[in-house]
Symmetry: C2
Subunit: 199 residues, 2 copies
Amino acid sequence: MQTKKTSSARTAILEQATPLFATKGYSGVSMRDISKKVGTSAAALYHHFPDKQSLYMAVMEFVFADKVKNIAPPPEDNSPASRQLEHFVGNFVNLLASDPCLRALLQRELLDGDEARLKLLAKRLFIGPFEAIATFAKSLSSNSDPHMLAVSMIGLLLFHFETIPIREFLPSGEDKHNNTEVITSHVTQLLTTALGVSE
Amino acid sequence: MQTKKTSSARTAILEQATPLFATKGYSGVSMRDISKKVGTSAAALYHHFPDKQSLYMAVMEFVFADKVKNIAPPPEDNSPASRQLEHFVGNFVNLLASDPCLRALLQRELLDGDEARLKLLAKRLFIGPFEAIATFAKSLSSNSDPHMLAVSMIGLLLFHFETIPIREFLPSGEDKHNNTEVITSHVTQLLTTALGVSE
DNA sequence: GTCTATAGCCTGATAGAC
DNA sequence: GTCTATCAGGCTATAGAC
């Protein structure tokens, strides 16, 4: 019973490639770009990954694996609904704030991914957490469609981060709107009211 | 007082380039790709646009100009707030559903755009409509931050469209969740409750 | 206004030495 | 496991004929 030994070269490649793909997208990054950032040659990358697509998919798994697993409170959580909601929003906001690449890669995939890749990513990474959020949503508001409510909750959160780069050019856009506590409390308050969760 | 004569070749290029940039992104589309779809040569494109960047920016103006101008109800609208909200959501959903390129290009720009380009796009295209939405949001809920509320409302709507390609692979994802009326009524109901807008 | 041809560079990927 | 060298082709953009 032995876990795979961590190949540090491989991990270093994934770590360096992640922010490149997140900021420039799949077709905006070349194998040479990655190799330069790692401090090696392009040919060396092909020793660790068979091709660019495989490297990219490995980056996706590297970024998402485990990070989004426990995003929703477990069904057996007995704390008050208002507290659960507050924690859920807070945890989600902290995750998005602490790892900007995660959000960018998710949104790029929704724009770029073909059917096969989205199916694979959904199956391996997103189905579990999404199901948990939908179940949590259902426990908060039993007469709404849990699928739609989960989508609404996630979208509500994401867009505050998605708009960070343009906010300073929009009316009343201030630094405080990028602050995690401000986003958390705004979204929590909105959802608490929307779902009729008693305080 | 004469408006610029419509150059039909130029317009044809913009029309063909729009879905390409929307689906594959700036660096995923070559001038040859565009020229093939238009049915001309790559060199011909350079007669109408000085370079690829200029063509892309022209596409952005072509897609956004006027379309998002009247997205929010005017301040002098005297219909009940619940009706205004319903119309706003309905109009926004219809816009996003009728023109998938508009949403994709907006989200790509938020991911790809450098500071200068985002500033330019904000100034020329987004400030007006965003301001109108924020003002509308303030009229609905005077004690919330209008900027954050506007961001929340837009994000709530967008994500239902952003997730269309992956929804079929997520739990309980059904075709009905892609239906404009279903999205409109879900979001309207959510916002009506969240903002305490009386029916 | 559109064409063909091409310059000059970048691309993913491979071969073979070490 | 990493290197240099290289292939075959794609890229933006331009030159110059028509």
